[in-house]
Each structure stands twice: as C-alpha cells, then as structure tokens.
C-alpha cells in the first residue's frame, strides 16, 4: 500500500499583489516501510512539503493521500485528529514539553487521543525500553542530554503507531557522534515497525541510509535515484 501520495500539490502565498509559490505541482509516492530523504537548499519548499504531508498545512491545489485517506479537503479539526492518529513527527526544535517527563511526553499523545491509559502506559514503557531510556523515563527534558531528548522525540513519534513518520532535520543540532546515533536509531525504528518515513535532511550520512533521495529546488521536486 502507498503510505503517502501527493498528486500535483501546490502551495502558494499571496505577497502584495503577486503569489509566491512555496511548492509547485509536486507529485510523490512513498510506499509502506519506505524511507525517503528530501534534500534541497534553504527556502526550497522541503518544510512546506513535510507540513502538507503531515496535515499541518492544507495545499492550495492538488490531492494528498496518507494511509489511503484523502486529507486535502480536511478542515482544521479533522486535520488535528489526523495528526493525532495517523502521523508521527520529529521536529527540528522544540521537540519536548519542558514540564513533562520523558515518559509523560510519550503518554501525552494517547491522553489527548483519549486512548486506553493502561495500553498507552505499556506502549510508552516498551518504546522507552527499546530506545534505552528505561532509567531516564522519569526525568524532565532539562535533565536529559541532547541525544536522549532526541530519542524521546523519536519514541513519541511512534507512540500512536502511525502510517507515516515525518522527520525534520533530525541531526542538524547534534554533533557528529550524536548525529550518528540518532540517525541509526531512526532508521532502526522505522525499519522495525514497517513505517514509511520522509526525512528532510542535509546530512549525507542520512541520505545514504534512505531508500530514495528526492531533491527539491524552488518548490519543484526532482528525483535522484539511490546509488
């Protein structure tokens, strides 16, 4: 099945009396369990594409299908529900709620989805165990290292068993060694759960791990086959 399908998706913004295209006629398919790396210079539209795929933005034109659902015409309330149930995010910054422990940062996803508390707790503990955060699960983000925080964010992205995980520059704020670790972690988790992932990155080490690399320039997607 296709985890993500974009058909002729455009996004433009009015600017004075003109229109600025952030994304132009993008078409894309990402299969189940496929890792796609999205590369491009700053302002190229990568974040816009990610946001549309994740239901944070609605397209100006075109169709967006995630896990078989057409989300193009969803209103903000439905998009909220969609994000809660179908998509996982790892953001570049501001990843964790500062006054929630590592464990609670995972549980919060289930809490506003009003899911079964016991099941959610079990899942959170399982994820944290797999991520090597057993002993750190009751610590606040301020008490965690950069790498540990990123691991919590990754765990949270999988908490709702999403069809698609969207990851924005996961290693940009990390040093080399830490970047390696996080990258390794993401790929392992994505593969282990057969989840599709779209990763926006500049990091060549990341692109080498992807199944496919897409280049985006000035809002238009090209295709670089994996070597």
């Amino acid at each position: 099945m296709t985890a993500l399908q974009l058909e002729n998706v455009s996004k433009f913004y009015p600017s004075g009396d003109r229109e600025i295209f952030a994304l132009g006629h993008a078409s894309l398919e990402v299969g189940d369990a496929e890792i796609v790396a999205l590369v491009g210079p700053s302002g190229s539209g990568k974040t816009t594409l990610l946001s549309i795929a994740g239901g944070l933005l609605s397209p100006s034109e075109g169709r967006v299908m995630v896990g078989g659902d057409d989300i193009s015409g969803y209103n903000p309330n439905r998009l909220t529900k969609f994000r809660r149930e179908k998509v996982g995010f790892v953001f570049q910054s501001v990843n964790l709620v500062p006054f929630l422990t590592a464990r609670e940062n995972l549980l919060v996803v289930a809490d506003f989805g009003r899911r079964d508390k016991k099941k959610a707790a079990a899942r959170a503990d399982q994820l944290l165990g797999e991520l090597g955060l057993d002993k750190r699960k009751n610590n606040l983000p301020a008490q965690l290292s950069g790498g540990e925080r990123q691991r919590v964010a990754v765990g949270r992205a999988f908490m709702n068993e999403p069809d698609l995980v969207l990851i924005d520059e996961p290693t940009s704020a990390l040093d080399t060694k830490l970047g390696e670790q996080v990258m390794e972690l993401i790929v392992t988790e994505v593969r282990a759960r057969d989840t599709a992932a779209v990763i926006v990155t500049h990091d060549l080490r990341m692109t080498r791990r992807a199944d496919r690399i897409l280049a985006i320039v000035d809002g238009v997607i090209g295709d670089t086959p994996m070597s």
């Binding site: 909220t80 953001f91 500062p98 006054f99």
Partner: protein, 373 residues
Amino acid sequence: MLVASRELRRAPVRFGLLAGAIGLLMFLVFFQQTLLSALLNSFTGALQNQSGTVLVYTWEARDNLEASVLSPDVIAQVAAVPGVGQVGPVGAATLTLVFKGEQLEVAVIGAEPGKPGQPTKLISGRRATAPGEGVASSESGNFGIGDTVTTGAGGLPVTIVGLTQQSQLNVLPTLFVTFDAYTALRKAANPDATAVLASALAVVPSSGVSPEALAAAINGEVPSVTARTRNDAVANAPGVSATQASFVIVLTLAVVVVALVTGFFFLIMTVQKTAALTLLRALGAPAGYLVRGLIAQVALVLGVALLVAAGLLAATTATANTGLSLTIEPGALVASTASIVGLSLLAVAFSVWRVLRIEPIQAVNPPALGGME
C-alpha cells in the same frame, strides 16, 4: 488533563504564589465587605436591634434621628392610627458622660420600660427597668455589668445591668436607659432646655398587621411624620447610604481588579508556554483539550485562592482591633466570590483566545521577526 495536571505539579511554587496573590486580593475584597457591614451596623445597630418594628420620625427630619423631635400631640395622633399595637417614645442623643474617671462620648437612647424601643440583642444581664439602670454596648467603652456612668458633674449615676452586641449608634459606645433617665441626662447637659421630647416613636403593629402596612397607614393618616419599617429606617439613616454607596463603588472596582489581575497572570503563563502549546497542537492535541486544561488550572488556582482568602478573613476578624464588631456574613461573601470567579473566568477568556489562535504549523515554521505575529 495530563498536561494541565503535570504542569501544576511541576511548578508548585509558581502556582502557589499565583494562588496566594489572588487570594490576598480576594481577602481585600472580603475584608472591605466585612468592614462595611460592621461599620453600617455600628452606625445603626441600635435601630436595627430594638423591639419596635416600625419607627416614626418627624417628616422634615429626613430619616435623621438626631434632627427628629416628636411632640406629645403628634405621638397621640400616631397612637390612634388603626393597626398600631404598642407605641414607645425613643429619645436619642450623644452626651459626654464620665466613666471610670474619664470623659466618654456616649450615644444615649431612652425608652420606656416594657414598651417598644428596647434592645433585643442582650448578651448578658437584663434590660433597664428603673431610672438608675442602663444596658451598654459590649463592643466599645469597656463597659461591664455593675459599672457606673455619671454626668460630667458626677450626678445621675446609671448602673449597667446588661450588655448588648451589634446595638451601637453612630459608631459610639451606646447606653440604653429608661426615658426618664434620658430626660434627666439631657436636662443635666443643657439646663436651659425647656422640654425634652422623643426623637422617634417605636411602634409594634397589632396582631395580623404587617410592619409595611402599618407604616403606610401612619404615613397616610399623620402627614407630619415619616413612618418606616425598621429595615427601611436603617437603610435610610443619614450617613448609611453615603457610606454604602462609596463602598459599593470601591468593592465593585476591587472585584474588577481581582479579575483583571487573574486574567493577566494566566495570559502571561499562556504566552510563556506558547512553544509547548504549539508543539502539542502540532502533535494533534485538539484546541478544546488545551482550553479545558487551562480552565481546570484557573479553577484550581481560584479555589486555593478562595481558601487563602477565607483563612485570612477568619484570622483577621478574630484578631483585628478596629473598634468594630467584625462578623463574617456568608451570604455577602458568596455573592462576592461568585462575582470574582465569574469575572475572572471572563478575564481568562483572553488566554483562551490566545490558545485557540495557535497555528500548529508554527511548530515547524516559527514566525520570523517581521512576519506573522
């Protein structure tokens, strides 16, 4: 409620300080209100807590007991009105008397024994039945049963045989004596006086007649007087309405200030955690989830603030030395609390609006300076 409850738990000092500050402001409102009741009571308690349910003044005295003088023929006219059960002349004046060697300003109220106008809130002893006896207010003047009060020249001794509460006049130590004793004390203070007349008439309706109906009847039949029910007489007493009006203005604005400050505090906290709220929205938290959490926090903080305010009020009324008898009136406090809570929730609406305004896209695309604000 996970987010809201954890936030509260992780920042107990901050929320505690907030509850404390709001509690203090609430206490100011409650205390002012209690003070007002006590002050008004100290002005007019003697009128409120005497046995006549209708009070009659001369018409042009305009509800001012001290400006009212009833001649015997007017009293006879009032007594003849159908529906009148019992009448009792009441004299009221402020005199300088001597108590324990010191001069003391005393509000003296004279009423005939066995007739309307007797104090109803005795806390010890008994009413005065003879000219040399008196009942004194317990709140000020340090009176005790068996103490003696005299004129400045040392004459006309009045022995205190009973003590009252909430029965002062004009915020002064108050002495209830017989009407004869009152007349004698007035003449001692002003030997030139040609007559000492009653200031007012205390009336009890005959059975089956309400005070309202009797007051209306007296007003209709005797044009030279104004008859009021006891409650109306108290409400219309000069000084009462001015004091009440001033305090109402002040209390209303104080309540508004409490609400504004509460609103501001929560707005500051909401703005401070905008990043976290944006993240949660991006992850799929419904706006309603975040708003419910905010309201729950507001409710809890206001609840704790209320406890703080109530505690401070109880402590202050028990220990404060204002010369007034402070008692907490639950009804008035409930009304103030309802106003404060209602207005505070309204003020917090601004924070709610801020939460609802959050765009989840800002989790990936924070607004740049010069861009969206």
